[in-house]
Symmetry: C2
Subunit: 422 residues, 2 copies
């Protein structure tokens, strides 16, 4: 196995690419020639095959087969069929995972369903715990749910992962954690944390947005109760492709969804005037799904199922370690502060550094062909998607960063202006 610290020259990085057992994957993606794309943690690159899939759905399925496609092309089954594939990727059992809606809506379903279970089992528990550094929508959704329920629930935020135990008391009903933090790249030990949450009498809901497809996930083995996540980052599903929802088998006997739409009905085409939940995870479907986005995203998920997840994780860690090493050895004379864990056991697949002029530095990097992104406050974020990023890419990115900082390219006026979307 190549170790990152050994790659002290660009030639050694090129050599590591040549020996990379996952190098074949790079050719399966359509990426522009002149950029190094380090934002697959925000929007995954496009699998080449996705273009044909989308064209087929539009022209043949929609245009020619029309309404008949619900049967002929199994549109109605797509959320379950693709959900089961995602279920395998995240270490869940069949029948519990569906591909549907958005992460935000699925967080609403999951936290609501978990609270409903606790209302029966431990009605005095009225606190939901999460992290202040969580992706904001996770917190917003809980806020809205608390206001909607209007029965004394409250949100308790921890400031750092090590504060979890102190926050777990007899009032806690549900804990919502994100396996890999969107900003720092911190990776929770899901099994360890879920165990502590359960020991404290609470249920564990996991947001996998920044972990699925990037680190091996094992929701069932970890004892998670619910999990949600998106498919447009490391799973390469396409912009805004539908999210997923997973619920542990042991809750299926009684778990209830707050969003009781007809797609989650046991017999949707009987058009009954009252709701009967479908068995399994399918009850967490709600309305008609965006078939074009949903069918196209299956291409990326299939590629992940073909890929050795352990090898992918090894490569990811080598690349993130290499990135950290090279920044510190070659660009360390600039005020860059690593906020991603050095400990590999706690690192996802992106690396973040703070820099006082982070926004302008990132715009200058992008203008020079290295596409990462910026997150408040002052954070330069570099996503290392190991399916299509190589060792020489990491070398070249760091060299570009060095040039942007050494030559103060970020001072150009056009890099000071904020875009609408950062």
């Amino acid at each position: 196995m190549t170790t990152a610290t050994a790659l002290s020259t660009r030639e050694l990085c090129v050599e590591a690419d040549r020996n990379d057992p996952l190098a074949w994957l790079r050719e399966r993606f359509a990426l522009p020639e002149d950029v190094i794309y380090l934002d697959g943690n925000s929007l995954g690159a496009r699998p080449r095959e996705a273009a044909e899939r989308a064209a087929f759905v539009v022209s043949q399925e929609w245009g020619n087969d029309l309404i008949g496609s619900w049967n002929k092309h199994h549109w109605f089954d797509l959320p379950v069929r693709i959900g089961e594939k995602i279920g395998r990727l995240i270490g869940g059992a069949d029948g519990e995972c569906v591909a549907t809606d958005t992460t935000s809506v699925n967080i609403f379903k999951a936290v609501s369903a978990a609270l409903r279970i606790q209302q029966d089992d431990a009605p005095s528990r009225r606190v939901i715990v999460s992290e202040r550094e969580n992706f904001p929508t996770d917190l917003y959704i809980i806020e809205g749910l608390i206001a909607l329920l209007d029965r004394g629930y409250s949100l308790r935020l921890i400031d750092a992962p090590e504060d979890l135990d102190a926050a777990l008391d007899d009032d806690v009903a549900v804990v919502l954690l994100t396996e890999v933090n969107y900003r720092t790249g911190h990776l929770w030990d899901m099994g360890d944390a879920s165990g502590r949450i359960h020991d404290a009498g609470a249920l564990a809901v996991w947001d996998l947005c920044h972990s699925v497809g990037a680190v091996p996930v094992g929701v069932a083995a970890a004892g998670a109760d619910f999990a949600v996540g998106c498919t447009y980052k490391y799973l390469n599903g396409g912009p805004g492709s539908p999210a997923f929802f997973w619920v542990a088998n042991r809750h299926l006997g009684r778990v209830e969804t707050p969003l009781t739409g007809w797609w989650g009905h046991d017999r949707p085409f009987e058009m009954a005037d009252s709701y009967t939940p479908a068995p399994g995870g399918r009850r967490f479907l709600v309305g008609t799904q965006p078939i074009l986005s949903l069918a196209t995203m299956e291409v990326g998920i299939d590629m992940h199922l073909e890929t050795d997840q352990a090898a992918l994780r090894r490569k990811s860690l080598e690349l993130t370690s290499l990135f950290i090493d090279l920044v510190e050895t070659r660009v360390g004379h600039h005020p860059l502060t690593l906020i991603t864990p050095r400990d590999e056991a706690h690192r996802g697949s992106h690396v973040s550094f703070r820099h006082p002029e982070g926004y302008a530095v990132m715009k200058a990097l992008i203008a020079n062909g290295v596409i990462g992104d910026y997150r408040e406050p002052e954070v330069l974020r570099f996503g290392i998607a190991p399916m299509y990023i190589g060792y020489a890419d990491v070398w070249d990115s760091v060299e570009t960063l060095r040039r942007v900082l050494d030559e103060e390219l970020w001072r150009a006026p056009e890099f000071q202006e904020r875009d609408a979307v950062t």
Copy 2:
């Protein structure tokens, strides 16, 4: 103006097509040669241009411009930009309509938001009124919301439109009606009904799934409070394309969404740890939208904005009247019972007949090139999308129906078997 009853021969229908001022629209759609597609009320036909739009989004926006497309191709603004277009189509003012999520999820938001308003204004009102014959998901969503809130709300169903007044008492908080019934094609007078609902102290939520794009809709003029609907039927947005949500201006000062996701935040990219709603209808956005489905659906909506809605309505009524006349005069010797209103003021753009062997009859019709659909119980449903259905299409469809019934083609064994999706 051609009147339906005058079209007593196929030649006269062909002549009517030649004189149709909307005939140019037909060529803008890609439809197979050998079928008459009378299911545009379930899945609208594909605008030709949708193929290019989808290919551009996949190859250029996703594949080449990658994460930069959020700014360059205005992905983040799509729900508002397209929502405003839909707002114009349904007679709403700018800034109140967004294109997002599914009809089911949007019904949840709308009824929940309406109940929240009533909780302040008239807290003793705890009844939600709807129609037993409503599309089931409307009822299921209310059921789930009532269970979630768990504070004494109940659902009161009326059996027929004329029962509305009797159901409106001092307990009623919200009424959810569907402007055009999915099964019968019955069209409410939205202004009249909303007025009666308001007079009774309740708020009016309208489901426009089977009316938008088929009949002229005027939510603001009608005094509606909220409206939702889908875009994949008469708006030709593509399979499962995102739905829309409209809220009346007068509620914007205080209306709250139960699904407080980051896309509805006032400043989503500040990544604040608490929620501040965006002004206008944008607060009803939740999570990241399926961009491929969303961007592609704009093609169909643009076509509607180019089309004279009054002329479209005239043609729709001529075609549905013609369909009814021809069935009754040429196929009236079979046990077909019209369940669609004869009164044009109460008719949408589809026509339904009951037949004791409805399911097999529809399968035989489809096998013979006339694609309608079947709805429980015994209902043959024929959607007349006036953008791409002509007078001769109506003639030919009725002739095929006559042949299927006269020759008892529906008795073939293959037409007795139920498909998974009907």
